[in-house]
């Protein structure tokens, strides 16, 4: 069996030996280097563009918006974002011109010879400025999207409570910071355009490319090259770069490469949405939530892009994994003149998770109830109903993860030890322990999967091996490996006899984007179904071939009654000779009874949730307010772990990314531009900052996932920031309602010089 085993990853050797070729490793005959000329202003109108007449422009290809054959937009949700600014600049770093030349030096030189004059307009740079509507930059009121989730009677619930507790929480931008920056090569072909590059979603790029040049499905070809991380940052943005490269390539009729350097990548591409989240919770003295009112405002940036979908996930997760009969969640996303915020691992959930968990800490503090006990009293269990009215029917590992995290971390013993230590005198280094409890819906929200109808397939090669056909991308998380494991076991052949087709839109069907913790649970399921169908077909064929009705396929061999009749490869070749290529394509269908109503925003938001609980131990230096995370113990229910080591890798990596979100990562803005666009001043935790991590994988199998698997990609991003903030609270008594918990911020809070907005 391959499932559940830590088999070698499919592309591992290639990566380890340096043989893997990333987009910037590829150079083509006659290729030009492209560059994007961007606005330094956050908001304004272009008055004029002039090109230095002393410079020889003949070897330079220049594109502006007039070179776009059709309409000027990036195909996403609202189609409101132009590929190139025609007149109205809506955010700093917005693309205006594209230039290309044979060398990078020449392109830089040309860039310095372009002068753009603007008429400056007053930019809207924060959620507060957007909400006060002094400047209107979108619609009538700067609001991109609104959601309302309502359940029960909030007024009644408030009356039932003994206490009303309010909190206001602020969460920042966060940069994805994949190792490999964004990059694309566009190649004009006789019939259309081929684009290769670093991306999560080849069919998003395919759609944008078709729209740009009015191409057919076949004329536009998109190929994913080896990709050095995505974290959501390569979900929607690659469509923009691909179209830019393609515009230049079309005009020059030569291949064009565009690679962003780190500074451009940080400055211009999408970030996690910052937000302000307010909670008003009614509780009984014994700790039961009787009503919860939550208001979410996210900053969408200058264009709609994926903001409505992020906002929706934020709203659905806003109450947290808790029971409450009376809920009212209002959510808004507003426009600002900043680069559009977009997809980032967690997709709205880490923002609200920090808020709901700190609200639980605040409730525990006010009621004098132990924070762990408060979670136990209110946690969702199997059979319970969520804020959207979804009854949790299966695979609910909530209690299991909480118990596992508490036991493995010795949470109780640590709490007591800290109390004793505290009582014995004031140390300048104080320890603290904190816990968080969280959940994450796997797959697209609501009716997303039903509409998407993800497709994937399997074909049997001439060598008699199984080849997986899917557009789900390998971005470091292990897609290729787990798909092969699923096929191997479902089909009954060896892991090494399964291979993966290149992620090329001319060869693989649209499996939907590689996002939303959906690759294993949703696409893995489709692949499992395809494997099942292949097995049925080839078994039937073999049964006839050998006149053996009871024949079965196991570990690559056809057997009957304990006797080996033939190898899989032999039968597969015979099948091909008689019937032609054996190829099966399957499509996703929502499990029976999973229903969602978009109008009332209620129902089964996700087919399944993954569950997590995390304990953080910190040491705070009470003179410098440095916070060291000593250890994180995390227990996560992800259903069956197809590849336990890769799953643990996802959990550890996501947790560390969340440590950065909670402690150090802060973008500094000046007039709508990011000032800290380097790794020396945008501070992510390195391996040396990584705490000890203990990971417990809980496997509550999901009946409609492949071998019981759910999603693991995003859940690990949700828990660390609140667990650390809770540990800091335990250590110092300082209640943190805004992340990151930098030493500076902590000192301010501790010294009370900064009035906490939630204490109003």
């Amino acid at each position: 069996m391959a499932v559940g085993q830590n088999v070698l990853r499919k592309e591992g050797v290639e990566k380890l030996t340096g043989a893997a070729r990333y987009i910037d490793d590829i150079a083509l005959e006659g290729m030009l280097y492209g560059k994007t000329i961007r606005s330094p202003l956050a908001r304004g109108l272009i008055k004029s563009i002039s090109f230095d007449t002393d410079f020889d422009w003949s070897p330079i290809t220049v594109c502006d918006w007039r070179d776009i054959p059709g309409e000027n937009f990036v195909a996403l949700i609202e189609n409101d974002q132009p590929l190139l600014v025609a007149r109205d600049v809506r955010h700093a770093e917005e693309p205006i011109l594209l230039i290309a030349a044979e060398s990078r030096t020449l392109v830089e030189e040309a860039a310095s010879r372009i002068r753009i004059e603007y008429e400056e307009l007053t930019p809207v740079l924060s959620i507060e400025e957007s909400l006060d509507c002094r400047e209107i930059i979108y619609g009538d009121d700067n609001v991109f999207k609104r959601f309302l989730i309502a359940r029960g009677e909030v007024d009644e619930g408030i009356n039932q409570g003994d206490l009303i507790i309010e909190g206001c929480y602020r969460v920042p931008h966060q940069e994805q910071l994949y190792i490999e920056p964004q990059g694309m090569i566009a190649i004009p072909t006789d019939t259309g355009m081929t684009v290769l590059g670093s991306m999560q979603c080849p069919y998003y790029v395919h759609k944008a490319l078709k729209q740009l040049f009015n191409l057919s499905d076949e004329q536009a070809v998109v190929i994913q090259t080896m990709t050095g991380g995505g974290f959501g940052g390569k979900e929607e943005y690659p469509s923009m770069i691909a179209c830019h490269a393609a515009l230049l390539a079309h005009k020059a009729q030569r291949p064009v490469k565009i690679i962003y350097d780190r500074a451009e990548d940080i400055a211009a591409t999408t970030k996690r949405h910052p937000g302000v989240i307010r909670h008003r919770t009614a509780v009984t003295r014994d700790g039961r939530l009787t009503a919860s009112e939550i208001d979410i405002v996210l900053d969408g940036g200058a264009y709609v892009t994926l903001t409505p979908v992020v906002l929706s996930r934020a709203a659905i997760h806003a109450l947290g994994p808790y029971r409450c009969e009376n809920v009212r969640i209002t959510a808004r996303a507003v426009a600002t003149n900043t680069p559009p915020n977009g997809a980032f691992r967690g997709f709205g959930a880490p923002q609200v998770a920090f808020a709901y968990e700190m609200q639980m800490e605040k409730i525990a503090l006010r009621l004098g109830i132990d924070p762990l006990e408060l979670r136990r009293i209110n946690m969702l269990k199997e059979g319970d109903i969520t804020a959207t009215g979804q009854q949790l029917r299966w695979s609910v590992g909530s209690e299991d993860v909480l118990n596992a995290a508490v036991e493995r971390s010795h949470f109780r013993e640590k709490q007591e030890a800290i109390q004793i230590e505290r009582a014995s005198g004031d140390s300048r280094k104080r320890r603290g322990v904190g816990l968080s409890f969280f959940f994450h819906g796997a797959g697209f929200t609501g009716s997303g999967e039903a509409k998407m109808k993800a497709r994937a397939g399997i074909e049997i090669t001439d060598q008699g091996r199984a080849r997986v056909l899917s557009s789900s991308t390998e971005i470091g998380q292990g897609t290729q490996t787990i798909f092969c494991q699923i096929v191997a076991d479902e089909l009954g052949i060896g892991f090494d006899d399964v291979e993966i087709e290149e992620t090329d839109t001319s060869r693989v069907p649209d499996s939907g984007p590689t996002v939303a913790s959906r690759t294993c649970m949703v696409v893995g399921r489709v692949i499992q179904l395809a494997a099942r169908e292949i097995k049925e077909k080839i078994k039937r064929f073999a049964a006839e071939l050998f006149g053996a009705p009871e024949i079965d396929l196991m570990e690559g061999r056809f057997v009957e009654g304990g006797k080996v009749l033939a190898s899989f490869a032999e039968v597969a070749r015979e099948y091909a000779a008689q019937n032609g290529k054996l190829k099966v394509e399957s499509q996703y269908a929502s499990p029976m009874g999973v229903e969602w109503d978009d109008d009332s925003y209620s129902g089964d938001a996700y087919p399944a949730f993954s569950w997590g609980a995390e304990v953080a131990e910190v040491e705070v230096d009470m003179d410098t307010f440095e916070v060291s995370v000593l250890k994180i113990t995390t227990a996560q229910d992800i259903g069956r772990a197809i590849h336990p080591l890769l799953a643990a890798g996802q959990i550890e990596g996501g947790t560390l990314q969340a440590v950065g979100y909670g402690l150090t990562e802060e973008l500094v803005w000046d007039q709508g531009r990011i000032v800290n666009r380097m790794l020396t001043n945008y501070i992510i935790p390195t391996s040396m900052d990584a705490p000890d991590m203990e990971t417990v994988i809980v496997e509550k199998e999901y009946p409609h996932g492949p071998f019981g698997a759910k999603g693991v990609g995003e859940l690990p991003m949700d828990g660390a920031a609140p667990a650390i903030a809770a540990a800091v609270l335990n250590a110092t008594g300082a209640f943190v309602s805004e992340i990151p918990v930098t030493p500076e911020r902590l000192m301010m809070i501790h010294e009370g010089t900064r009035r906490e907005s939630n204490e109003d």
Binding site: A263, D623, L679, D689, P743, M747
Partner: protein, 330 residues
């Protein structure tokens, strides 16, 4: 990065003759860990790079007859850390070098380069100039994002902090610097090498475009307790938020004299006369260290966003003194 000419001399005389009258003409390349990123970001664009790495006489660490230590400007941070003499007698230097936590930078970065690296001020690194002014000539730092900027010596026009990790420790140890130029060799106290610029065409240290740092001479630290303490935001690949180096000449249990130098708090490594004067004649205790820390920041003033650095600097001085008292153990 723009194109440039590359020269690789083998003597310091050749090196100096290949340098020019401005950074636009030529710049000296040692480890390149700072210079190359400045060139990539188009903050500097020399027409020629003069590689110093083949100038053998700039290498090596050795004891001089008078007991002082000669450190060649090309000695890498890692060589410094691995040197037995440095390890034995110069704890504060080891602490400071140890704070340069990236193995790659330790392997390539040099002692001379550490002293001559340019400030990490993000306005400077984003192309607003060393004095960080907007297009109308107004200073950006005092009302801008100055969380990492100076809390001492910050009356302008320079508001950045000196980025050197080793300078505070070397100054506290009484180090001298040798500079070689067309006029031959000059010796100066390392402390005097640094000066806050008063105009846009000055640097934060006194080295002409056609001069190079050749070696650093550190007096014997016998009888001096010394240590460095850094406060940092993360454990690797970053500069400290504040640091302090102390050297205490001991007479039994009493401090005979003290040198206290703060790093990353002012446009120059900041010698604290107040703390030094106070420490002379005292016996080391937690209380004495605390008071010295408080005195070291007595004249500090916060800009809009860097008040917390005053606290960090105070703590760094206190802890450096306590660390020195404990024999400089890490």
């Amino acid at each position: 990065m723009r194109g440039f000419e590359y020269a690789s001399p083998t003597t310091k005389e050749q090196a100096v003759s290949l340098l020019g009258s401005s950074d636009d003409d030529a710049m000296a390349l040692a480890g390149g860990t700072d210079l190359l990123s400045l060139m990539k970001d188009d903050i500097v664009a020399p027409r020629r790079l003069v590689n110093l790495k083949d100038v053998a006489e700039l290498r090596g660490i050795r004891l001089l007859p008078d007991g002082s230590l000669r450190i060649g400007a090309l000695v890498t941070v890692q060589e410094l850390l691995d040197n037995a003499i440095v390890k034995r007698g110069y704890a504060s230097l080891i602490h400071a070098a140890d704070g340069i936590t990236s193995p790659q930078i330790r392997a390539m970065g040099t002692v001379g380069g550490d002293l001559c690296q340019r400030p990490r001020c993000w306005y400077y690194r984003a192309g607003f100039g060393l004095l960080a002014k907007d297009k109308d000539g107004a200073a950006l730092v005092p009302e801008g994002d100055n969380r990492y900027h100076a809390i001492l010596g910050n009356t302008g026009p320079a508001y950045f902090v000196n980025p050197s990790s080793l300078a505070p420790a070397l100054i506290a140890l009484g180090a001298k610097l040798h500079i070689f130029g067309s006029g031959g060799q000059v010796e100066m106290n390392l402390e005097n090498f640094f000066a806050a610029p008063t105009s846009a065409n000055e640097k934060e240290y006194r080295l002409k475009p056609n001069e190079i740092v050749t070696e650093i001479i550190v007096p014997s630290a016998g009888g001096w307790k010394n240590a460095t303490y850094e406060v940092r935001q993360k454990e690797s690949l970053d500069w400290p938020l504040a640091a302090a180096s102390v050297a205490l000449k001991m007479s039994g249990k009493t401090i005979e004299s003290a040198r206290v130098v703060l790093g990353h708090v002012a446009p120059v490594p900041w010698r604290s006369g107040e703390a030094q004067a106070y420490l002379a004649g005292k016996t080391i205790s937690e209380q004495v260290a605390e008071t010295a820390g408080t005195l070291a920041v007595a004249r500090a003033s916060a800009m809009s966003h860097n008040g917390y650095k005053i606290q960090l600097a105070r703590v760094a001085v206190k802890r450096a003194i306590m660390k020195a008292a404990q024999g400089g153990q890490r």
